[in-house]
Subunit: 204 residues, 2 copies
Amino acid sequence: MSRRSFHRAPEGERRQELIEATLDCISEFGLKGATVRQIAVRAGVTAGLVRHYFDSKDQMVAEAYRAVIASLTEKAKNVEGDPTTRLKDFIAINLTEPVADSRSVSLWAAFISQVRVDPVLAEIHREGYLAFRNALQDLLSDFLAAKGRAASSEECRRYAIAINGLVDGLWVEGCLAGDLFRDGELVGIAMASVEALLGLPIEA
Amino acid sequence: MSRRSFHRAPEGERRQELIEATLDCISEFGLKGATVRQIAVRAGVTAGLVRHYFDSKDQMVAEAYRAVIASLTEKAKNVEGDPTTRLKDFIAINLTEPVADSRSVSLWAAFISQVRVDPVLAEIHREGYLAFRNALQDLLSDFLAAKGRAASSEECRRYAIAINGLVDGLWVEGCLAGDLFRDGELVGIAMASVEALLGLPIEA
DNA sequence: GAAGTTATTATACACTTGAATAATAGCGAC
DNA sequence: GTCGCTATTATTCAAGTGTATAATAACTTC
């Protein structure tokens, strides 16, 4: 007859725990398996609490999507050093753990599949994609300039679209069936491909 | 008090209708919105009929996934003509309707997101991916040979991985946010990129 | 055209879902 | 300490889920 004891967490902390639990459930059980109850279990709370922090389950899921995009782009956008190093790191980071793992691609795909259904998710996606591609475009612009081959923004845009596509495609494949590739193989292929695309060696 | 009238369809036909209705629902409402009842409405039958044709809803969904993969790979694998034409068509087909449309990518993503959850879907995915990539690898092998630059199968494998990644990535981007690109721009970028990757002009 | 087969409908069932409500226990202020 | 606030639990609810079963109407065969 006694209630279970609990811990009163600071608001921000508990919100983040719930979002993390949401993502865990989506990646493990899929969107339809990520029920309020399952998420609550994962977060170590009871189901009712979700509605204390979020207006609805859908809102929580949307915030979870924002978190995914942030975690996918954060590391890639924070590369540092000279242009060559940054380009090299950008490619390597996106094709290596923790960005490249099956959990990430599961989450990404789950949300992508809803972009057509839910306009809120569509907008979040669009922002994230453009931010990512623009970061890459700036990076390429710097790189080409440093190599003495400064290019127009239109040219950089085309390079960014192609390389973004390449990296995304390899990322998906690597995450879904990593065992089909040797260690580091995808990074190697990506590096060589980018060199060929730009017609420049990446090595400093 | 009267039952609705109905039409007794040939087995194969009705099965296909149900699968098509399943895909419609998944692309429009997402995996969790594709309920047996909704699918039945779309197919113009009642919910009970689903279990007359399939052992379970899950089995029907798995067969629907097979159908998606088949439709995505079918057109690409059936390119004809000389090696150059086939390579060119392969790229163009995958980045143009009907292969490149938002319905396709929604379906693809919905299933991809379940690959981690459902081993049956994982196996279907793996088969489809390898078949697709191997078709591309053969195509590249023929193309390089025709251009007098015959390459080892290892070399072709690396090219196939890269180009497959590139095409897949551009396909996703184009399907999700086609309005960010000009008409035919993605095909153009893909063609130029493949030329750069192979170091050969594609034009005959 | 009558009989038999079975694809299809209609209904019911047990369970899960997201959400609303009321009770309560943790924790800071005093 | 005890009071007050509210984060958290416990319980309930209506709607929706996949599935099972029985009745029936469409088509085939003779």
